[in-house]
Symmetry: C2
Subunit: 186 residues, 2 copies
């Protein structure tokens, strides 16, 4: 049930409701823009998938969507290219202090990551424990390992501590996650 998140993030993305403080998505967008501007990588967040039910267009240029619904995404939110490699990841925040609830990721997003890795891409998830101010990059392999060997609804913080890379937030780039990709894959 990601709709509340999806929704909140989406609104943050598109309307300025004043400074609510940065969230993971904003940090990653700024980071990806830094990578792009500095010719380091070309990685974008995909637009939020929606189903459009009605569009008004007074004229061809000013089409307005007047009825649409959020769709469950088929893929992860982020993909792109870095050093010739295909990069694919999902980023999630949790207020939970002890574990990351797997309900935050759709099963078909995990299946998507399995396909990416199978086809030779670099897949991972970035998880922010917002109440703890800790952010981790967990390789897809390690994510699969946990899911395939544990019948649990959430991944304990300890699993991240021992299997993921903890990332520091800096100024530029905000979250230099590609540094951890270098470390792990290249």
């Amino acid at each position: 049930m990601n709709y509340p998140n999806g929704l909140r993030k989406n609104i943050n993305n598109t309307i300025n409701y004043g400074n609510r403080g940065m969230n993971l998505e904003e940090d990653l967008n700024i980071t990806n823009k830094y990578y792009l501007d500095n010719d380091i990588a070309v990685i974008y967040k995909k637009p939020t998938p929606i189903t459009i039910n009605h569009v008004d267009y007074p004229n061809r240029k000013d089409a307005v969507i007047t009825n649409a619904k959020f769709k469950i995404p088929s893929t992860t939110d982020y993909n792109g290219i870095y050093k010739g490699k295909y990069i694919d990841f999902e980023a999630k925040e949790t207020a939970n202090k002890t574990s990351f609830p797997l309900a935050n990721i759709h099963m078909h997003q995990i299946e998507h990551l399995r396909k990416i890795v199978k086809h030779g891409g670099i897949g991972f998830i970035i998880v922010s424990f917002s109440s703890l101010n800790r952010i981790f990059l967990l390789d897809a392999e390690k994510l699969f390992e946990f899911i395939d060997n544990n019948n649990r609804k959430s991944i304990p913080l300890e699993y991240f501590i021992s299997n993921a890379k903890e990332m520091k937030i800096s100024l530029r780039p905000r979250i230099d996650y590609l540094k951890y990709i270098d470390w792990r894959f290249l």
Copy 2:
């Protein structure tokens, strides 16, 4: 000025207005599903980017977007992975019989393709001359070559005939564009 296309494609995507006959986007979606189902490649069309201005949510599950606008895309519509390689392309249809108007592609989409190629990805455009029933795959390099050496608002059909790969439409997959990628890059 892609809004009419973007709009039409988007509505076709999301509402069934009955059989209007297939268009390029539908053919590519079916092709990409074939590639996915047969474990050949993982390539998706990105959702249409929109700016959300208002969302109603009677309850958390039934959020309805009641006011949104189409955004000009920053990237191409399609990307993914094939044989470990990053794939990125734009697909356009034209009713024009003699040339492909460059107004159909945003300049920053072309700049995006330049970045992709620079970072080691495989970039191209697929252009359907719908009135002629001819579909071409033009490498990004050849696209740049034309744009950089011609001060023209459209690419003549002849340029496609001599520099692009013409693709046949078949049953499964509908448009086997990866075959031409093999031929060209792998």
